[in-house]
């Protein structure tokens, strides 16, 4: 269970999150949709503490971190949260100086301190899972965008996180390459990987998600099932936004 309670975040005078509550059950996928600037990315980055909320409670399984005032999380909390989350970025952010396999096993070697042969074995299994067994020795610069993002997904899964955080994983890809990534994420969802996915891609939200949250103005404006929220939204604002996504 991942639970966010009253998460608030500001960047100086700009308040980006006004107390977000969200609950994600183990083995389910939550899609975050909403306009740019609505707080989707910031919310995801608060879950793995790339951003520090100014208030609220973050619960990841047994781990809970409370944010109050300007008190930073302890080192132990920070690393515990990071070890239990994986993140996929819009712009991939693969390590350019490491091969596909090297990217996937980097955390296993440095964070989990696995011996190299064990890490490589796990890394190869993950590359196979995202359909890239034949590319283990390729550098990111030699891969297509879709392949890079699939390597990034394998890298994010390597530490066996409680939740996979995907920040617009298909937004930098053309529709064909995006489909590769949607297919991989959908397959992972079917395997029971817990995910929170910020996306503008209705295929991804529709196919993989078990709940969809519409984030607008730093709040969860509407929460529902994919068919309900995307098919028959309650709020006019949601309806407008979803109709834009459908194009």
């Amino acid at each position: 269970m991942i639970r966010l309670t009253g998460i608030e975040k500001d960047f100086g005078p700009t308040v980006v999150l006004h107390g977000v509550d969200l609950e994600v059950k183990e083995g389910t996928v939550t899609a975050l949709i909403g306009p740019s600037g609505g707080g989707k990315s910031t919310l995801l980055r608060c879950v793995n503490l790339l951003e520090r909320p100014r208030a609220g409670l973050l619960e990841l399984g047994d781990l809970s971190v409370k944010f109050q005032g300007n008190q930073p999380p302890t080192r132990d909390q920070l690393h515990a949260v990071r070890r239990q989350t994986g993140m996929v970025f819009q712009a991939f952010h693969l390590f350019p100086h490491r091969t596909a396999l090297g990217n996937v096993i980097e955390g296993l070697l440095t964070v989990q301190k696995l011996p190299r042969p064990a890490a490589e074995e796990r890394g190869r299994a993950l590359l196979q899972r995202v359909g890239l067994s034949s590319k283990e020795n390729s550098y990111p610069g030699q891969l297509s965008g879709g392949q890079q993002q699939r390597v990034a997904i394998a890298r994010a899964l390597a530490g066996n996180p409680k939740v996979l955080l995907c920040d617009e994983p298909t937004s930098a890809l053309d529709p064909e390459l995006a489909k590769e990534v949607v297919d991989v994420l959908t397959a992972l969802a079917q395997d029971g990987v817990t995910m929170i996915v910020a996306t503008h891609d209705l295929r991804l939200a529709g196919a993989a998600a078990s709940q969809v949250a519409f984030l607008d103005g730093g709040r969860v404006a509407e929460l529902g099932s994919p068919s309900g929220l995307l098919g028959n939204p309650r709020l006019t604002r949601t309806r407008e936004f979803v109709s834009h996504l459908k194009g």
């Binding site: 952010h93 350019p96 091969t99 955390g107 610069g141 994010a156």
Partner: protein, 226 residues
């Protein structure tokens, strides 16, 4: 054999011996120490608390703003006045290392800053600590960016070691001066010294190319379509 060739031949062994005994060790040691000092200074300036950052800035400001020859004179001829007596070679080593540290710190700082923020975030997202992110993700990529300007500094240093002649280090250039003073052939001797410096710097340039290829093996060659 013509006389000029004999002069060059007779001077060759002492010149190369002085280079091997003083010039090359001085350049190599100063570069290694200076690089370490430069890394610490760059990290202190970029990431340290305000006092450390200010100290780093002050050090770079003083070293870059004063002539290297003056620094060497201060260390070797000046410090004995306050009871600190340092032999010529270690004095030169200290001077050159301090100098290298200041210049290379700026190169390293710029190279670290050139690595996109996303690389830090990706490192943190797989669970790395700040130190691991720096050591495994940022510095290996920064090293490639820094190699050409660092090679520049190293080559400049090799030539600057000739200034150590002024504080009595019997390196290559001082040896040439001595021989020229005895045989009155400054044109020949200084030409020969210049050629030996040139040969050594050429070796370094070749080493730089190989290092760049090695550090950049994940990249296409640095070529731009015209």
């Amino acid at each position: 054999m013509p006389r000029w060739l004999e002069i060059l031949r007779d001077a060759f062994v002492p010149l190369v011996a002085a280079g091997a005994a003083f010039t090359i060790p001085l350049a190599l040691l100063s570069f290694v120490l200076g690089l370490a000092l430069g890394l610490v200074t760059a990290l202190g300036r970029a990431f340290g608390p305000p006092p450390m950052s200010a100290l780093a800035r002050f050090y770079v400001w003083v070293i870059r703003g004063t002539p290297l020859l003056v620094q060497l004179f201060l260390i070797f001829y000046g410090l004995p006045a306050v009871g600190i007596v340092i032999d010529a070679f270690p004095a030169a080593l200290i001077g050159f290392s301090l100098n290298m540290g200041a210049y290379t710190s700026e190169i390293i700082r710029a190279a670290i800053a050139s690595i996109p923020q996303g690389q830090w975030e990706a490192s943190f997202s797989v669970g790395m600590t700040w130190t691991q992110a720096l050591g495994r993700t940022i510095l290996p990529q920064a090293a490639r960016v820094a190699t050409p300007p660092l090679a520049n500094s190293f080559i400049a240093l090799v030539k600057d070691t000739s200034l150590a002649a002024a504080i009595t280090v019997t390196e290559l250039f001082q040896t040439a001066q001595r021989i020229a003073a005895a045989n009155y052939e400054p044109l020949l001797l200084y030409s020969e010294a210049a050629i030996i410096y040139l040969a050594f710097c050429s070796l370094l340039s070749a080493a730089q190319s190989r290092l760049e290829t090695r550090l950049g093996r994940h990249l296409n060659p640095l070529e731009v379509v015209r």
